[in-house]
Amino acid sequence: MHRLVLIAMLAAAGQAAAQAPDGKTLFAKNCAACHQVTGAGIPGAFPALRGNAFVQGDAAAVIATVLKGRGGMPAFGATLDDEKIALALSYVRSAWGNQAGAVDAATVQAVRSGSGAAAVTKPQDKGTIIH
């Protein structure tokens, strides 16, 4: 929570914070293509995060889903670091009337190391294309 407040203050203070990633921006960039900026998803295709019980439930389960993917959702473990996942999830859990607690990077780190999820991949280590 502390971190979010800090970022909000910096954002209000001016330009310096425009560079810092915040949860809302991270969500818009990485998640909104499917879940939509409103968090409403698209029925029959992408689940709504707004009012979603799973999203507002056990943080470790939500973190694991983001790290490892599920169904049509890709794994973000290799592309987003702990800090970014924490910011994005804290946003998702508190936006659109959602009322779950923030997630911190240490918790993401713990889930990452405990779940066998991939580490953040350096560009030169990316896999090859096969289709």
């Binding site: 818009a28 960039k29 990485n30 998640c31 909104a32 293509a33 499917c34 939509q36 698209i42 029959g44 295709a45 992408f46 993917g69 599920r70 169904g71 049509g72 959702m73 890709p74 794994a75 973000f76 290799a78 592309t79 987003l80 350096k122 560009p123 030169q124 280590d125 990316k126 090859t128 294309i129 096969i130 289709h131």
Partner: protein
């Protein structure tokens, strides 16, 4: 017999096993063959050359085929030949499934996205679904041959194309190199090291004296090493500072200098190639002249009358003696029921698992087993083929590590034409999720910024128009292809391949040729054989 894999392409298939299976057919028919193949641990899904030769007749029996992609089209084409009444239900207004080509006027509207209308010039196109056919996908090539779809070479490997890694560690970061430079130098240096180690006796424990000399000879040949001192000093295959030509100037030209070994190692640029391409990526690759959808159109011409377009499946009911498929006409909103003796469902699992069915819980759970790949592509029409004119790059792929780009693929057709349409990015997973959040215009800008670094001064200024897709946001697909974890492949996949009641599944997702048209076709061949067997036995 038709199910025998082609010998030359499958040398590992032991003749004795083939002979046994041929005998199995002679003795017990195809049912015995299937059982025998299972007993041998073989699945009939191994790459096949031609459709199954089905005996008997399907007259008086109805097959409801869900989806007019390549799996559904294949089934309609083959089963109708046998006399079956095929009713194909297709949600879109056209056939082909993912086998689509964007050319002038093509409309695509992603879920949550804007409506795109392709504004390419006449003759320009991008295959935004499948785009290349490996020589060993004989099932796909069976139909291009049968339908007379003209093919041309698809250049999948161009040594002269660039590799450009912005994030390469070390001094080669952001340096544009020809792939032949990296290949020649990496191999030359590695061969030199190994050859010298052998010569100095460092590997006498590993190789006999005779083998050592043979290996040194191999390495010297492979890496263009000097026979005298086994050194790699470069080779003409890595290009020239000044190309050879006429007379005395340029005459023999000026050789180029190899990159530093340590820089190359640090950069990891050598990772872009392997000893040999994966089986599905080897030369020769092919493409239909004028666009991949020529294959879909070939089928459509022959089975189009059997297709009910713009008709959505709302429910599938397996019953004791028939299958009932509830559908909605998207033009009128009218609901109706289509019945048949059997159903072949080719709807992607990503979509099927959200449709109401009376499948068992076990089957429904298995439907959840596959993940679906987020995939984005973008076609960029360029005013001028600067990659050919200025850089001598005719087809193939420029590789880059720029996030969300991976490659820029140059067209393998219409060589030296006025304009050209290239593939500006091809990305997957989390990167595809990110790119697909952009508008088409933003995606184009993103692709152009990356290309401009590699072709400065020409990439952005040559740009005409773009057409892009994020397959995970395309209704009725929700992903590029099915992806199976080891666990899902072991547990869910066999349940789904088996089918349930009077419904069998087919498509690339029901194969080990995932994401390939051959997977859809061969899966369909396999399942129609089973349906025919079931209905013939009844």
């Amino acid at each position: 017999m038709s199910t025998t894999p082609n010998d030359a392409l499958h040398p590992s298939t032991a003749p004795s096993r083939r002979d046994f299976l041929a005998k199995a057919v002679a003795i017990g028919g195809s049912g015995f063959l299937l059982a025998s193949m299972k007993a041998w641990g073989m699945d009939i899904a191994s790459t096949r050359d031609v459709p199954p030769e089905l005996q008997g007749s399907g007259k008086g029996k109805t097959i409801v085929i869900l989806g007019a992609g390549l799996a559904g089209l294949t089934a309609a084409y083959e089963m109708s030949k046998l006399g079956y009444n095929c009713k194909v239900i297709e949600a879109r207004a056209f056939a082909g499934g993912r086998c689509q080509t964007a050319r002038s006027g093509k409309v695509l509207e992603e879920l949550g996205g804007e409506k795109q209308v392709c504004a390419f010039d006449q003759g320009q196109y991008i295959n935004f679904g499948p785009w290349r056919i490996p020589f060993n996908h004989r099932s796909t090539l069976h139909y291009t041959s049968e339908f007379g779809v003209p093919l041309e070479l698809f250049n999948n490997d161009n040594d002269a194309a660039y590799i450009y890694n912005d994030n390469a560690p070390g001094p080669l970061a952001g340096r544009r190199l020809r792939q032949y430079e990296v290949k020649a130098d990496m191999r030359g240096y590695v061969d030199e090291l190994l050859a010298k180690s052998l010569k100095g006796g460092a590997m006498d424990q590993q190789v006999t004296a005779a083998d050592r000399d043979l290996l040194i000879d191999y390495l010297a040949n492979e890496g263009y090493l000097s026979k005298k001192d086994l050194r790699y000093r470069g080779t003409d295959g890595r290009g020239f500072k000044v190309n050879p030509g006429a007379g005395v100037a340029p005459g023999p030209g000026v050789p180029s200098d190899p990159l530093a070994f340590s820089d190359l190692l640090q950069s990891r640029l050598g990772h872009f190639y392997h000893s040999v391409h994966e089986f599905t990526q080897q030369a020769t690759m092919l493409q239909p002249v004028g666009g991949m959808d020529q294959i879909a159109k070939g089928f459509e011409k022959r089975v189009g009358k059997m297709i009910r377009y713009q008709t959505e499946v709302t429910s599938v009911r397996n019953l004791a003696d028939k299958v009932e498929v509830h559908v909605k006409d998207l033009r009128t909103g009218a609901a109706s029921v289509v019945s048949g003796d059997f159903c072949l469902c080719t709807i992607p699992l990503s979509v099927l698992r959200q449709i109401d069915t009376n499948f068992s819980d076990k089957f429904k759970t298995a439907l959840q087993g596959a993940a679906y790949a987020p995939v984005c592509k973008i076609g960029l029409q360029m005013k001028r083929r600067f990659w050919e004119e200025d850089h001598g790059i005719y087809g193939g792929h420029v590789y880059t590590d720029t996030k969300g780009i991976n490659l820029i693929s140059l067209p393998s057709g219409n060589w030296q034409g006025k304009k050209g349409t290239l593939l500006g990015f091809y990305n997957f997973g989390a990167e595809a999720a990110e790119i697909s959040a952009m508008s088409n215009r933003e995606r184009a800008d993103y692709a152009l910024a990356a290309g401009e670094k590699i072709f400065p001064g020409h990439y952005r200024s040559s740009f005409d128009s773009a057409f892009s897709v994020g397959w995970h946001r395309v209704k009725y697909n929700l992903g590029g292809w099915a992806e199976w974890s080891e666990e899902a492949r072991a547990q869910a996949y066999p349940v789904l391949v088996e089918g349930e009641g009077r419904t069998l599944l087919a498509g690339e997702h029901m194969s080990h040729l995932g994401g390939w048209q051959a997977g859809a076709i061969e899966s369909s061949w396999q399942q129609i054989g089973r349906i025919h067997q079931r209905l013939s036995a009844a």
